[in-house]
Amino acid sequence: MSVLLDVQGLQTRFRVRKGYVYAVNGVSFSLEEGETLGVVGESGCGKSVTMLSLVRLLPPAASIENGQVLLRGEDLLQLDLRHLRDVRGGQVGMIFQDPMTSLNPFINIGTQMSEPLIYHRGMSKKEALARSAELLEMVGIPDGEARLREYPHQFSGGMRQRVMIAMSMSCEPAVLIADEPTTALDVTIQAQIVELVKELRDRSGVAVIWITHDLSVVAGIADRVIVMYAGYIVEEAPVDALFEDPRHPYTVGLMGALPSLEGETGTRLTTIGGSPPDLEELPDYCPFHTRCPYAIDRCRTENPMLEPVADASDRGHRAACWVDIREVAVQSNGAGASS
C-alpha cells in the first residue's frame, strides 16, 4: 500500500493571555491508502488540534508554526485557500464530536447535504438533492427525499451523526477524519455509528483517522493506533501490538485505568496520579515524568523522541520513552518520581 497522507513535524500553538499554549509539538505520522488510524488521548492532548491543523480549520487563536502535511505529495499547509477548499470536503471529509451543533439549525438538511456536491462535483442543485436522498438511504435513514426538507432538530442525535457521515462521504474523499464522532452518543447508538463507518469504509476504501479518548472503541475499528500526550505522540503501533505489548508508561496507565466488562472485579484500578499539563513552553524534559512511575533522572532533563521500540513484534511500533518498561520491576503505582 502507498502512503496517502504524510505529516512531518507539525507544530501548532495557541495564543493565550499570558503567552502561548503549545498544543501540538512536532507531530509526525503517516496514513496509508485504505488504512484506519486510531488517535487516542485525553482531553487537551492535542489530538483534535492535530487533525484540524491538517486542513487548517483552527480557531483564530491557533497558529501552525511548523511542519508539512503532504496529501498525495501536495503540501496542504502551503496551499492557497481556494485550492485548500477543494481538498476540504472533496478529498478530506470530516465528522465532528457533537452532531447537535455541527449541523446548521437554520438550514434544512437537503441544502446542507448538497453543498459539497455542488462545490466539488459541480452538480446542479436538483442533482445534488437527488444524490443526497440516496446518500441518506445509504447511511440508514429511510425516506431520504422527504427528510431532506427537514431541519436538524427534527433528527435524533444518532440520526444527525448519520447525516454528517453521509455528507462527509458524499464526494468520495480519500480520507475521512472522524473527531470523537461517538463521544456525545449513547452506547447503543455508538455501536450503530461504528458499524456504519466500518461498513462504508470497507465498501469505499476510504482511509479513516478516528480520534477518540476511548481505547475500547479504537480496538474495534483501527488498524494502527497513535497515543498522544501533551501534544506529543508518545506511542505508535499496530492495534494488536499496542494492546498486547504497550511500551509507553502512559499507554500502560491508560489501559490499567479502564474497568473491564469481564474478569475479576475485586481488584483496584491502577491510576495515573495528577492530571495532564498545558504546556506553556516547549519542555526540555519528558512531559509525562511528573506522573510516571518509571521516571528516571534523564526524564527530567531530556525529552525523548519517538523511536522504534526494542525487539518489537512489529517494525512500526514506536514509543517516546527513555526506559524499557519491561526491564523495570513495576513499582507501586503512581508513587513514582513525583513524590
Binding site: E42, S43, S156, G157, G158, M159, D186, V187, T188, I189, Q190, A191, Q192, V194, E195, H213, D214, L215, S216, V217, A219, G220, A222, V239, D240, F243, G253, L254, M255, G256, A257, L258, P259, S260, L261, E262, T265, R268, L269, T270, T271, I272, G273, S275, P276
Partner: protein, 330 residues
C-alpha cells in the same frame, strides 16, 4: 462491602413505585402541553453498606431517580423510605436532619461549586449548617476532609477556578463527606472526567466507602465502571427499571433483551476479541419520554417482542433469588 443478595436484607433506602412526571410546553409558542414521563413506578432498595449501580442511556430517568429519591425533586407519586422512615411528604424543615445523612455528588464538578466561595468555605458549609463543628475544630475538620480526598489542606483558601476537573470532584466529595452521611447518591460522578482521572475518583470512592461505611447509589451510563464499583446493578430504560440483579448475575446472565443489547454494544479494549465478536447492534433510537410506547417500553426495538408486549406492561418480578426483571419473554 456487604455481600447481600438484596432480599430481606437490611435496606437503608427503599423506593416504592416512585414516579416523577414533569409538565412541559412544546412548540414555537409553547402551545402544546405535554408530560415527560421521567420516572414511572420505579421500585428498588439499597442495602446498608452496598453500592447499587443504576445504569441506562441518557434520558432514561436515572438522574431523576437520584434527585427524586433525595426529594430534590418532589415525586409525583410513590414512596421513599430512609432507614425505615418515610421521607416523601416531609417539609423542607423536617427533611433537614435527614439531608445530613444522605448526600449527593453531581456529574459536572465545574458547576457544582460556587465560583465565589473558597473551597474551604464550601466544605465548611455543612459543618456550620448541621452544627457539626465550629471555630478551630471546623478548620481542622476541613483540613482532614481535604486530606481524606487526596488534596493538600492548604488548598482550603483557594477558589474553584484554580482547580482541575478531577480536583474539583474531590472537593465535591469532601463537601458531601463533611455531613458525615450514611448514604451518597453518586450522579455520574466521573462522566465529565478524563479516563486517567476517572480511575482516581473510582478508587477514592471505594476507599472512602470502606473507611466510612458508606452506602452508594452509583448512577452511570458506563457499564464497565458500574460493573467495577457495584455490588448490585439496576438497568433503566425510558423511566422504568427493567432488570436488577447482583452484578455477576446481571453481567454473566442478562435476562432482559435490553440489558443484553446494552452489553453487546459496549466495545471491548481487546482488538482480537473485537474482531471475533458478533456485532448485532440494536436498531433505532430511544423513543421520547413524552409519549413513551405502550406496554413494554422497549418493545419497538426488541428482537424478542411478541403478542402481549405492545399493550401489557410486564410485571416487575423476581425470577430467581435477587434477580428481578420486567419482561414478558423471560
Amino acid at each position: 462491602m456487604s455481600q447481600n443478595d438484596g432480599k430481606n436484607g437490611d435496606p437503608l433506602v427503599r423506593v416504592e413505585n416512585l414516579t416523577k412526571h414533569f409538565s412541559v410546553r412544546i412548540g414555537a409558542y409553547g402551545e402544546t402541553k405535554a408530560t415527560v414521563h421521567a420516572l414511572d413506578e420505579v421500585s428498588f432498595d439499597v442495602q446498608r453498606g452496598e453500592t447499587l449501580g443504576l445504569v441506562g442511556e441518557s434520558g432514561c430517568g436515572k438522574s431523576t431517580a437520584g434527585l427524586t429519591l433525595l426529594q430534590l425533586h418532589r415525586p409525583t407519586s410513590g414512596k421513599v423510605f430512609f432507614d425505615d422512615s418515610e421521607v416523601t411528604g416531609l417539609s423542607d424543615k423536617e427533611l433537614r436532619p435527614l439531608r445530613r445523612r444522605m448526600q449527593i455528588i453531581f456529574q459536572d464538578p465545574y458547576s457544582t461549586l460556587s465560583p465565589r466561595m473558597t473551597v474551604g468555605n464550601a466544605i465548611g458549609e455543612p459543618l456550620w449548617l448541621h452544627e457539626l463543628a465550629s471555630g478551630q475544630e471546623a478548620q481542622e475538620r476541613i483540613a482532614k476532609l481535604l486530606d481524606d480526598v487526596g488534596l493538600n489542606p492548604a488548598f482550603a483558601f483557594r477558589y474553584p477556578h484554580e482547580f482541575s476537573g478531577g480536583q474539583r470532584q474531590r472537593v465535591c466529595i469532601a463537601r458531601a463527606l463533611a455531613c458525615e452521611p450514611e448514604f451518597i447518591v453518586c450522579d455520574e460522578p466521573i462522566s465529565a472526567l478524563d479516563v486517567s482521572i476517572q480511575a482516581q475518583i473510582i478508587n477514592l470512592l471505594q476507599d472512602l466507602q470502606e473507611e466510612y461505611h458508606l452506602t452508594y447509589l452509583f448512577i452511570a451510563h458506563d457499564l464497565a465502571v458500574v460493573r467495577h464499583i457495584s455490588d448490585r446493578v439496576a438497568v433503566m430504560y425510558l423511566g422504568r427499571v427493567v432488570e436488577m440483579a447482583p452484578k455477576e448475575k446481571l453481567f454473566d446472565n442478562p435476562l432482559h433483551p435490553y440489558t443484553n443489547a446494552l452489553l453487546l454494544s459496549v466495545p471491548v479494549p481487546n482488538p482480537r476479541q473485537e474482531r471475533q465478536r458478533e456485532h448485532t447492534v440494536i436498531q433505532g433510537n430511544v423513543p421520547s419520554a413524552i409519549s413513551p410506547p405502550s406496554g413494554c417500553r422497549f418493545h419497538p426495538r426488541c428482537p424478542l417482542a411478541f403478542e402481549p408486549c405492545d399493550h401489557e406492561v410486564p410485571e416487575w418480578r423476581e425470577v430467581e433469588s435477587g434477580h428481578w426483571v420486567a419482561c414478558h419473554a423471560v
